[in-house]
């Protein structure tokens, strides 16, 4: 069984939402360029990117900045850059080199919209439970 790491729900929510909106933007670019000659459809590996970002934040950078003088700032706020964009392999590439398959893109797009919305609700729930905990008498 995979032990689920215990992340702060706010950190997790923020990271996941950031990656979701980033993916939204990439999928939107694919739709916009559905008829551009030579354009290659792109996507990110969401699970890998999320793990990488969370571990980068939780355990510090894999390449931390060296602090050798008192004036140097530590890299505790290090955030790995946005995830690598991967090219989608196309089953039916067109003559002009465009690899956007609209059916695939639209289903990924719909999936990502739904999951972004779900993530926003989870994040809102995390905030709400914190606010409730701070309110006397549970009001």
């Amino acid at each position: 069984m995979n032990p689920v790491p215990d992340y702060d729900p706010l950190v997790f929510g923020e990271t996941a939402l950031r990656l979701r909106t980033y993916r939204q933007q990439i999928l939107g670019s694919n739709l916009a360029n559905a008829e551009t000659p030579g354009f290659r459809a792109k996507d990110v590996n969401f699970a890998a990117a999320l793990r990488e970002q969370l571990e980068g934040q939780a355990y510090g950078s894999r390449l931390p900045l060296a602090v050798t003088t008192s004036g140097h700032m530590p890299s505790s706020t290090y955030r790995p850059g946005m995830p690598t964009q991967l090219f989608r392999t196309s089953a039916q590439p067109s003559m002009d080199g465009n690899t956007v398959d609209l059916d695939i893109e639209r289903s990924h797009f719909a999936e990502n919209v739904t999951k972004t919305e779900a993530q926003m609700r989870f994040l809102a729930g995390a905030f709400r439970s914190r606010v409730n905990a701070m309110t006397p008498d549970g009001r």
Binding site: G28, S29, N33, E35, P37, F109, M120, A124
Partner: protein
Amino acid sequence: MSLISSLHVASTALHAQSLRLNTIASNLANADSTVDTYGNAYRAKNVVFRTVPMENMGADGVEVMSIRESDVPFRKVYEPGHPKADESGFVSYSNVNAVEEMVNMISASRSYQMNLEAMNSARELLQRSLDILGT
């Protein structure tokens, strides 16, 4: 913010596709134009798209790189009584292929609709994000 740039990407696509629709409308309108006084008839115009990177890293918009004129020969019809007929009785009409233009028009309007939907989704998600801290 990525969602805002999703909106921008969709708007570049709407702009490009509406320009494409404009050229198609112009082609269809001139499908039966004959030669002008210089002997040139209307030539079908086609847009050429190209990817344009957005200010936000990772997003790619689209723009119309150029509008090319088709170099297909003019359509010649034998109409000896026509005032524009040449000495052998042929009239040159524009090289617009109406069927091609109709297919292009369907494709452009589908693309327009799809990007409008993408824009709507991004707008709804942005609206939702305002509720994260709400009650």
